[in-house]
C-alpha cells in the first residue's frame, strides 16, 4: 500500500514538472497589450466601415467583402492597373457620398500624418495621370482614372489617377472579431488587420511617383519626411559608424517587397546599440514615419515594441549620403522591416513596412 502511494506521488511529481515547464514557457511570452484606447479605436474603425457598407448598394457590398482567409489577403502590389489587376471597390466607381464615407474610414483608421500621406500618394498618381496625357480626362469624383491607349487585343496601358484605388474588407468589420481593411492602388498598399484591441498595419507599402509635385501652390512630398530624416541620420554618424552602416554594394530594389511574405533576411548595417542616444532617437523618429501611419492608439504600442527591441535593430544604407541623391536604406529588427528604395531616380520611391512576426496579424491568430 505504501509503495503504491509512493508510486503515485512520484507520477504526480513528474506530471507537475512537465506542467510547470509548459507554464514557464507560456509566461515568458508577453501578455497581449490591449487597452481601452485601442478597443475604442477598433470600434470607431469598425463603425466607419459599417457606414461605408450602409452607403453602398448590394452590388457595391458584394465587391467590397471578401473572406478573412483567402487569396485576397496577399493580393496587393505597387504596380498600377492593369499590370496588376486589383479586386474590391474601386474609388472611381463611387458616388461623392460613398467616396466621402471611404475617406472618413481612412481618417478613422490612420493617424493625421498617415492620412495626409495616403492622400498625397493618391494625389501624386493623379499628377502622373495628367502627365501621361493619353488618358481620358475626368474628375476623380466622376469615377475615372486615366487610362493608357488600348492595344489591338484590348490590352490597356497603365492606369493612373485618384480613382484607381480599391477598398476591400476581409471578414466582417467588427469591434471584437478579426477582420482586415485593405486599401491600395498604384504605389500604395495599406493592410490593416484588427482583432478587438489588437491591430497591425503590416505589411504595407507606401510609395511615391512623383516624389515631389505642386498642388494648389504648395510643394508636396509624400515621402519627404522619410527621405530627409534618413539623410539626417546617416549624416549624424561618425566615420566609424558609417563604416558599419553603409553597404559597399548597390541595392536596386526592395528585397522584401510584394510577394515576399514570410521571409526574413539576415540583418546588416550598424546595430542601434552602437548609436549614441541622440542618434537612436533619430532612428526611432525615422521608424515612426511608417509605424505612425496607423491611428495613434495602435501606433504608440507599436513604437513601444520597436523601442524595446532597439538594441537588436539595424540601420543599413546604400548610395550617396548627400540629400537629394537616390539612396536605399533599411531598418531591420526582430519585429520590423522597413525598406526605402529609389527606382533609379529620386522622383520614384518604393518602400515596404513589415513585421516578420505579425504580418496580416499572424500573432493574433495564434492567441
Amino acid at each position: 500500500m505504501r509503495s503504491r502511494a509512493r508510486v503515485w506521488s512520484i507520477v504526480v511529481f513528474g506530471a507537475f514538472v512537465a506542467a510547470a515547464t509548459v507554464l514557464a514557457q507560456r509566461s515568458a511570452a508577453p501578455p497581449p497589450a490591449s487597452s481601452r484606447a485601442q478597443a475604442d479605436a477598433t470600434s470607431r474603425i469598425a463603425a466607419s466601415a459599417q457606414a461605408v457598407l450602409a452607403a453602398l448598394d448590394e452590388a457595391g457590398r458584394a465587391k467590397v467583402q471578401f473572406p478573412f482567409e483567402g487569396s485576397q489577403k496577399t493580393r496587393w502590389s505597387n504596380l498600377p492597373t492593369p499590370i496588376f489587376q486589383r479586386t474590391g471597390l474601386r474609388v472611381g466607381d463611387l458616388t461623392a457620398a460613398q467616396r466621402d464615407a471611404v475617406m472618413k474610414l481612412l481618417a478613422a483608421a490612420l493617424s493625421r500624418d498617415g492620412y495626409r500621406k495616403v492622400v498625397d500618394i493618391m494625389r501624386g498618381d493623379e499628377v502622373l495621370r495628367a502627365a501621361q496625357g493619353a488618358g481620358r480626362a475626368s474628375a476623380p469624383n466622376a469615377g475615372a482614372g486615366g487610362r493608357g491607349p488600348s492595344t489591338g487585343s484590348g490590352q490597356r496601358g497603365p492606369t493612373f489617377g485618384e480613382g484607381e484605388y480599391y477598398l476591400a474588407f476581409l471578414g466582417t468589420p467588427s469591434a471584437s472579431a478579426a477582420w482586415m481593411l485593405q486599401f491600395g492602388g498604384h504605389h500604395l498598399a495599406i493592410n490593416l488587420t484588427l482583432a478587438g484591441g489588437d491591430a497591425t498595419m503590416t505589411p504595407s507599402l507606401p510609395a511615391a511617383q512623383p516624389a515631389t509635385y505642386s498642388f494648389e501652390g504648395r510643394t508636396v512630398r509624400p515621402l519627404g519626411n522619410e527621405n530627409d530624416k534618413a539623410f539626417a541620420l546617416v549624416n549624424a554618424l561618425d566615420a566609424a559608424q558609417r563604416g558599419q552602416a553603409i553597404l559597399a554594394y548597390r541595392v536596386s530594389d526592395l528585397v522584401l517587397g510584394p510577394g515576399q511574405d514570410g521571409r526574413t533576411i539576415q540583418p546588416e548595417g550598424i546595430r542601434a546599440s552602437a548609436l549614441a542616444a541622440p542618434q537612436q532617437t533619430m532612428l526611432l523618429d525615422l521608424v515612426r514615419e511608417w509605424a505612425g501611419i496607423v491611428t495613434d492608439a495602435f501606433a504608440e504600442p507599436r513604437m513601444a515594441e520597436i523601442k524595446a527591441n532597439l538594441r537588436d535593430t539595424y540601420f543599413a544604407w546604400s548610395g550617396p549620403t548627400t540629400n537629394g541623391s537616390a539612396a536605399y536604406f533599411r531598418v531591420q529588427a526582430p519585429t520590423l522591416v522597413i525598406e526605402y528604395a529609389p527606382q533609379n531616380s529620386v522622383d520614384h520611391i518604393h518602400t515596404i513596412y513589415r513585421d516578420p512576426t505579425n504580418d496580416y496579424g499572424a500573432k493574433f491568430a495564434r492567441r
Partner: protein, 214 residues
Amino acid sequence: MRAGSAAAVFAVAAVCVCGDRASAHRRDELLQAARVAVERNRVELELDLTPGIAVADAVIADIDRDRDGSLSADERDGYAARVMRAIDLSLDGGALDVRLLSAAFPEADAFRRGEGTIRLRSAVVLPRVADGDHRLAFRNGYRRDVSAYLANALAPQSDRIGIVAQRRDAEQRELTIEYVARGGAQPSLWLLGGIAGIVLAFAALRTIPKEDER
C-alpha cells in the same frame, strides 16, 4: 503580326508615350533576386527573375527557342537549366552541384505587362560540414548585360548556423556568406520537461511490486 508581338510593340510604345515619370517600375533591366538559406547539411537557393517590359521580349526569346509564341514545358525546362548553369555555388572553395527543384513560369503576356516573374527553386545537400567557420560563395553570371541583382542570405532557422558576414561585389552578382556551423541545438525546455516527466513516471512504474513479489 502575331498577337503577342503586337502586345509587345504596344508595351514598348506605351513606355515611350508615358516617359520616365509614368513608368510603373524598372523597365530596362532583368531583376534577378537571389535568396540563400544556409542550413547545417543543406543550402537552398531561391532565384526570382523579373524582366522589365523593355527587356521582356529578349527574355521571351531566350525561352521560346522555336519562336512559336508559346512557352512549352521543354522550353521552360531548357531555360531554367541554362540559368542554373550560369550559377556557381561553392563551399570553402569546393564547387557544389546545385539541383533544380522547381521552376514556375508566368504566361508570356505577363512578361509583356511587366509583372511576370520566373521563380527557380534549387538546393544542394552539403557534404559533412565540420563545426567552425565556413564560406559559402554564390555567383550569378546569367545575362550580365541587362541585369540588376539582389543577393541576400536568409536568416537561419536554426541556432546551429550563425551568419557572421555577407560580402558582395558592387552589383550583387557575387555573394559570399561567412558562417559558423555549431553542434546540436540546445533542447527546448518543453522537451526537457517532457523527458523529465516521462523518466520519473517510468521510474515510478518500475517501483510497483509485481503481483508474485507481494
